[in-house]
């Protein structure tokens, strides 16, 4: 339109001045060349709009969304892709039995175990361990038994040694606290004979095993059922203790920071034998936890650390001849505002362990209710009150020792180790630490499998429900890593290799978290339709109307020209 006017205005101005009073004359007809130019100009505009403007607009306003295997992700979240099972392999060592008797005992015990078990996902498999039985087992297991590659073999959870002992009325068992071995002593008369239908020995072994793994079974059932129910047979007491433990234990993390802090309100003690203490008391435990998580340790000494101004003060108890803190006030003991307890190192959570040495004027300091000197703050850490022997200072009063020796830290660090076990969610039974660690490997594997799966489901639902959120390619690759490791976890679990299962589950969890918390997926670009109109109208209105109108006019002209030509041809 502008080009049209540009053509016509100048002749019109001159004519209108000359003939103001006369009738308006139509403008002189356009030359075909002018019409041609106008057509080209309009066409050029539209070519630029269609082939340059439109693609640029499309490109710059579209959101990159990588393709995600939504269905597979939802399957994992719904538990359709994998049913985690926990076949525990238990070896039966029968040094003093005939192979045939041992075989029979194994069979009856397994039968009793299967009868007792009501949670199919977690079951115990018995195997004969001694060499005499390998032959029969190789035959049973076919190829796999023969290959016997280390990576293929399932983890042995427990070895039961059957030992004959004279002078026993009934079988008794003894759990080795430092290894994964259960000794069962039985009177030789109770060796099962194939003719009898049930033997007290196999019933005893089955019950023993059931008892050993009762808590683990209940915990796994609790986790798999999504924290709502669990096994029917679980006693309410056990259920309560399980859920309490799950509540107070830390959320899983790849790396935990252990922070040991010495706080004292005065100037002494100002040094402690921390390196030796950590090395001696803590390293074994951390080493044992290596398959589950990594740990970093840092320590600090804070002098002149005061209680919070609002915190209740300790009171002197005449009867106990000690300063006491009330149990309900303990949550206010840690002065979270002033004590530098959140070092914010790295990206893992910090577990705080506080060693508090009270002022000589308030020593000894204990908890009023049960004279305890330590407590756990769920999901946070632990506190230990250390009351060292006071020495007489020169000025008459008493003072704390300037240095805490390695020996005096012993009880405190043992307690910290216990608190660490509790905070990491280690189950309390059976009474053998290696077995408990194994159990916690299985529990962690189950937890991580579920949490990574549910993260996949969340991501899938998020992708579908928020169409405006971008999904970069890194998310898609993280998702595929997660899914493959989840699959690996599931098959490792099925085959009883719990260490390997946990390792894959850890990778799956890390990748799942990474994909969900991808930094660029921030959906803050929601624009209601009104806003879109408000943005585009002022921009496109003034430009768009002349373009559209000129296009329409040009089309009309072409149509009219064609009609005229056809009429001319007809005439």
């Amino acid at each position: 339109m502008t080009t049209e006017q540009g053509d016509q205005v100048s002749p019109q101005v001159s004519t209108s001045h000359a003939n103001e009073s006369t009738v308006k004359r139509p403008p002189p007809p356009e030359t075909p060349a002018a019409v041609q130019t106008r057509f080209r100009v309009i066409a050029a505009f539209w070519v630029v709009i269609i082939f340059l403007g439109f693609p640029i607009w499309w490109k710059t306003t579209s959101i990159y969304r990588a393709h995600l295997p939504i269905e597979e992700m939802v399957d994992w979240a719904d538990g359709k892709a994998c049913r985690p099972v926990f076949p525990l392999e238990i070896h039966l060592a029968t040094p003093s039995m005939q192979p045939i008797e041992a075989q029979y005992l194994l069979r009856t015990t397994q039968h009793t175990l299967d009868d007792l078990n009501e949670f199919a996902a977690h079951h115990l498999r018995l195997k004969l361990a001694n060499d005499s039985a390998t032959v029969s087992h190789n035959a049973e297991n076919g190829m796999e038994g023969a290959i016997n590659a280390e990576a293929q073999a399932p983890d042995t959870t427990l070895t039961v040694r059957l030992l004959a002992q004279e002078g026993l009325a009934a079988p008794r068992s003894e759990l080795h606290a430092a290894t994964t071995q259960l000794d069962v002593f039985y009177p030789p008369s109770q060796v099962p004979v194939p003719s009898s239908s049930n033997s007290p020995l196999s019933a005893f072994i089955a019950e023993e095993l059931q008892r050993l793994y009762g808590e683990e079974k209940a915990t796994i059932a609790h986790i798999l059922s999504g924290h709502t129910g669990g096994l029917d047979s679980t006693s309410p007491q056990l259920a309560e203790s399980i859920s309490r433990r799950l509540r107070r234990s830390m959320k899983y993390a790849e790396t935990y920071h252990l922070s040991f802090s010495l706080f004292t309100p005065g100037s002494e003690p100002s040094s402690w034998d921390i390196e030796a203490a950590v090395k001696e008391y803590l390293s074994p435990l951390l080493q044992a936890f290596e398959p589950i998580s990594n740990f970093t340790v840092d320590t600090q000494v804070q002098l002149y650390a005061n209680f919070a101004p609002t915190a209740p003060r300790p009171e002197y108890d005449e009867a106990e001849s000690a300063w006491t803190l009330k149990k309900e006030d303990l949550s206010a003991f840690v002065n979270a505002a002033e004590w530098p307890l959140n070092p914010s190192i790295g990206n893992g959570p910090t577990i705080n362990f506080i060693l508090y040495v009270p002022d000589p004027s308030q020593s000894p300091l204990i908890v009023k209710e049960n004279r305890a000197s330590s407590w756990i703050v769920p999901q946070w850490g632990g506190v230990y009150l250390l009351n060292p022997t006071l020495s007489n200072a020169e000025q008459g009063g008493q003072s704390n020792p300037a240095h805490l020796s390695h020996d005096s830290l012993g009880p405190a660090f043992m307690t910290f180790s216990h608190q660490l076990l509790t905070l990491l969610g280690t189950p309390s039974t059976p009474a053998s630490l290696p077995l408990r660690l194994q159990t916690s490997i299985r529990i962690r594997a189950a937890t991580l499998l579920l949490s990574a799966s549910s993260t996949m489901g969340s991501l899938a639902r998020l992708t579908e429900s928020l169409p405006s959120i971008p999904i970069p390619a890194s998310v898609a690759s993280s998702v595929s890593t997660t899914l493959s490791h989840l699959g690996a976890t599931c098959s490792h679990l099925r085959e009883g290799r719990f260490g390997a299962a946990l390792a894959s589950a850890r990778v799956a969890e890390t990748e799942a978290e990474r994909s969900f918390f991808e930094k660029s997926m921030v959906g803050q670009v929601y624009f209601p339709d009104e806003h879109k109109v408000a943005v585009y109208l002022p921009l496109l209105g003034p430009v768009g109307v002349p373009l559209v109108v000129s296009l329409l006019k040009e089309l009309k002209r072409i149509a009219a020209g064609r009609k005229a030509r056809r009429a001319a041809a007809a005439a």
Partner: protein, 399 residues
Amino acid sequence: MALLFRFLQAFALLLLASLVTAEHTSNWAVLVSTSRFWFNYRHLANVLSLYRTVKRLGIPDSQIILMLPDDMACNPRNAFPGTVYSNADRAVDLYGDNIEVDYRGYEVTVENFIRLLTDRLDEDVPRSKRLGSDAGSNVLVYMTGHGGDQFLKFQDAEEIGAWDLADAFGQMWEKKRYHELLFMIDTCQANTMYTHFYSPNIVATGSSELDQSSYSHHADNDVGVAVIDRWTYYVLEFLETQVTSANSKLNLGDLFDSYDESKIHSQPGVRWDLFPGGEQEGRLRTVVDFFGNVQNVEVENANATEPGSLKEDLAEIMRLVEKWQKRDEEYSAIIGDSVQNATEKMPSSSHVNLAPKKIVGSTKMAEDSNWGKQLVGLSVVGACTAIWVAGSILGRSAV
């Protein structure tokens, strides 16, 4: 009889389970002021007052995210440098000791706020600036600033829409980042901000209806500006006078019943429908469920002997230490090597069923139909275009 016993046991377990699910394990608070400049002194005072309250009731600084877009205490126009007061009597200096501001000044942006909620932050962002809540956390979100119909202005430069906020909470729920959430907002037309929420377990409350302003409570003539907003003032009055300790049994119902429209000068609103059990159940949540901190400290009994107790553990750790000392080599007893392979499969009956997602649409604030509005808008746009086209055609023919 045995059957009955079994049944009773199952019932008891069910009861226990429901009790367990109702419990939360940690408390987090996100307190956000969104406006800058001296004349918005009251918004910072609002937030700082609430900060003091939640801290008094026990939430530690590490679990409070405080966002202050300006620093009133150091403002050159502040006649009382280094202080912020929320009352003309100037009895309590809100800015005193122990203030930990996590996001300050121009860090307070819509993007950072949404990143905070959804934890989509750089790896090098310190933990003190992150919302580390999990499936067991009760989260309190308090916002104040200048807002309008379904938006809240941030920093004079940008705004957060009710949709974005709803999506952020939706993502938090998807990733199990809260157990229950209490959303409070004090701004003009505040209640419009929570209309689009769709994720469950949220109780939302705001200071004013659609097309209503929220007013400031009073001004301090020496400070020279208003020092607190009305709705926040009366919420705080309730919290400070009634909820005196972390053991208070007062519930959300009591808090919301304490709203007095004649004092607040606007109509505060509460949204219950996202909460399981609705208003009836939601009213029973205690105030300290959100404003206080659950911290069940567990004192270890040195004399108990049940498995897992301190004494037993100590003995076991002792053995471990001894063993460690004996063989300096690596600890290899956990995963013993095994000889045989068991690959027998057993069908499993337990698998996880995720509850079907409940989809809650946005609630309507105003009675008039949305279609009508759109029609009006469309006809306005159409009329404008028509005038434009007609004008250009007429202008052309007139010439």
